[in-house]
């Protein structure tokens, strides 16, 4: 499975939760599959989805699901120790690990070679780290929500992108409707 197929499958779970979605094609795919006010789309700033989600989870009690990628985690690796030492029980970091920089032309990342993100998350102090294959994402995500424990979920899947339109919504509109959904 590729990322967009996973997102389609888990859309009914994501719909009810606060979601912070990674820059580029992941946000375009989520936006096209199931746009919700509870989705925060990153339009720039590669690497910070996990940090934005962590700040959000620490600031309020609703569950927060971050949809991140292997390339973005590798660009902000300092996030893993911060998560490992601070993440509250309402924080779920789902890393769609397709071993490539999808938005820039599927160049391979180091997770397609020797680098193991689940191992790195454990070494950084993350207590609940789960690695699954693409087809098992839905149940693993529901388990993470039910566990009420901070979870790093590494989803191994195939490299590839669905052709989706660019998000043209104004960033302040995305942010404002998201904040209303957070407070609502």
């Amino acid at each position: 499975m590729i990322r967009s197929e996973i997102l389609k499958e888990i859309a009914p779970v994501l719909r009810n939760e606060l979601v912070v979605c990674n820059i580029g094609i992941p946000s375009q795919e989520l936006h096209a599959i199931d746009d919700q006010p509870t989705n925060f789309y990153m339009l720039g700033t590669m690497g910070l989805a996990s940090s934005i989600g962590l700040g959000l989870a620490l600031a309020q009690p609703k569950p927060v699901i971050v949809i991140d990628g292997d390339g973005s985690i590798l660009t902000n690796l300092g996030t893993l120790p911060t998560i490992g030492n601070n993440a509250p029980g309402n924080y779920i970091l789902m890393i769609i690990d397709n071993g490539s920089y999808g938005s820039t032309g599927d160049q391979p990342t180091y997770t397609s070679q020797r680098t193991d993100l689940a191992g790195m998350a454990r070494a950084a102090g993350c207590a609940r780290v789960v690695e699954v294959q693409d087809k098992d994402t839905g149940p693993a995500l529901e388990e993470a929500l039910a566990s009420s424990e901070a979870t790093v979920l590494v989803v191994k899947c195939d490299s590839g992108n669905a052709k989706m339109p660019v998000i043209t919504m104004d960033p302040v509109v995305i942010r404002d409707r998201f904040m209303k959904a957070v407070a609502g």
Partner: protein, 169 residues
Amino acid sequence: MMSIDQRIADDLAANGVSFVTTVPCKQLAGVIEEIDRRGDIFHIPSNKEDEGMGLCAGAWMGGKRPAIIMQNTAIGVTINTLATLIQYYRMPLPMIISYRGELREPVACQVEMAVHTKALLAQLNIPTYHFHWQKDVEELDNILKYTFMCNKPVAILTDANFWGGYGDQ
């Protein structure tokens, strides 16, 4: 007598700032310690300043008023984050910045980023205040109110003279 560190933490708390992330600097050690000690401000250290700005963005969307405390070298690290996250989504972010490489600085390399600091902030249209004398701290309360009024990142540069001559120690 109240220390400058206490004064800064008090002003943050009085303006509702309850979420502070820091990347340390020798000049900032006292204020970081003060923030760590207080129950009314949550302190989460960052490993890099752009990561810290991500945390602040999330905390603000979650209903908390954030602030970041960092060195001016971080301006070189965070330009993309300031432009495409904090400014693009129009978010408030007070940045209390240790202004290394200014008068009374003992480490020559610090001057290399000091000479770019105000130019970079000006290029980004970031409102910038420079605390040089201890009495300049009296502006902090107004600067914080201004930041949360206009929803912009705002820089408060605090040099060695302000901190009582860290460089001479």
